[in-house]
């Protein structure tokens, strides 16, 4: 058991494995996205209060879910890297951060484009919107901190500490609409309660979330491969890898 884990936790064995996994996740993401978009636009009915504008929910909510979920996974990898002092988990955390930042920004921007026609404002400083903005700063801070330290091992440690401190913010985002008066409405989907939306709308939203999830795995694997090549460019396995692929130099 142990032997197996250690085998796959070294970059030279994980690199080709990740390469074989990427197409599967990319295909899954595409298929879920096509079905999800079809349901979002052609099957899901018009909303009784928001008309067609509510369809922004099909990108906004999945993006917001991913922004929080990726942060938790990233912090988990960072903690694993910190406690085992291992390379691969730290690289996974580093690979997830930019995608998490993109989904956070997407949640903020699509929310803004939904808030303007529905609420009447592009932006308000309520607890939900403010805490999501802080999440964006946490991602950007993590990326900036990691790239500002030359020694990769030290950069991993500093980044991991920041990522772990920032975890506090995730439950704040999630429960902000419950704990405080916010302009943002409460949760449509919550644990222990029936979803407050019709099944076809829910199905579209879940499929889009699934598509984003598969996309995230594919893209994180792509990025972790880049990080491995860049960090270990002097090692023999990278040289072998580089010489085995075609193309001009």
């Amino acid at each position: 058991m142990n032997i197996n884990w250690f085998k796959y936790s070294s970059p030279q064995t994980f690199y080709p494995l990740a390469g074989r996994m990427i197409p599967w996740f990319a295909w899954a993401a595409s298929i879920f996205a096509v079905i999800g978009l079809y349901i979002s636009f052609f099957i899901a009915p018009t909303d009784f209060q928001q008309g067609e504008a509510y369809r922004i929910i099909f990108v906004h909510v999945p993006a917001a879910w991913m922004s929080m979920f990726i942060y938790m996974v990233m912090a988990g990898w960072a903690a694993l890297g910190l406690s085992l002092n291992a390379r691969l988990p730290a690289m996974m955390a580093q690979a997830l951060a930019p995608t998490g930042a993109i989904f956070t920004l997407l949640a903020l921007v699509t929310g803004s484009f939904w808030g303007k026609p529905m609420w009447g404002a592009w932006w308000v400083w309520d607890a939900r919107l403010t805490s999501e903005l802080i999440l964006l700063f946490l991602y950007l801070g993590f990326i900036a901190l990691q790239s500002s330290i030359d020694d990769p091992r030290k950069a991993d440690k500093a980044g991991a500490l920041l990522a772990l401190v920032g975890v506090v913010n995730v439950p704040i985002i999630y429960f902000s609409v419950k704990w405080w008066n916010t302009l943002h409405q409460g949760s449509t989907i919550s644990m222990g309660a029936a979803p407050k939306m019709v099944t076809t709308m829910l199905l579209g939203m879940l499929l889009m979330a699934l598509a984003f999830w598969m996309y995230t795995i594919a893209v994180a694997l792509m990025r972790v491969r880049c990080i491995m090549l860049e960090r270990e460019r002097a090692s023999d396995w990278v040289k072998e890898q580089a010489l085995s692929v075609g193309g001009n130099t």
């Binding site: 636009f41 052609f42 099957i43 899901a44 009915p45 018009t46 008309g51 067609e52 504008a53 369809r55 922004i56 990108v59 906004h60 993006a63 930019p98 995608t99 993109i102 920004l105 997407l106 921007v109 699509t110 484009f113 939904w114 303007k116 026609p117 996309y215 893209v219 792509m222 990025r223 491969r225 880049c226 090549l229 860049e230 460019r233 002097a234 990278v238 040289k239 072998e240 890898q241 580089a242 010489l243 692929v245 193309g247 130099t249």
Partner: protein, 55 residues
Amino acid sequence: MQWSSWSAFFNMGGYAFYVWFSFGLTALWLVWEVLALRKRSAVALNLAKLLAQDK
């Protein structure tokens, strides 16, 4: 089917700008991320190849 015609579909009940901007931006950003990573991978491999050939 929700729409009486394609123009009704593109009009999105008068919210075309907001809806299409949101979906368009999402698609654009995600595609850009994939393309940027492909480029980054090619650059890293090329550099490693140069290093390997240098010895």
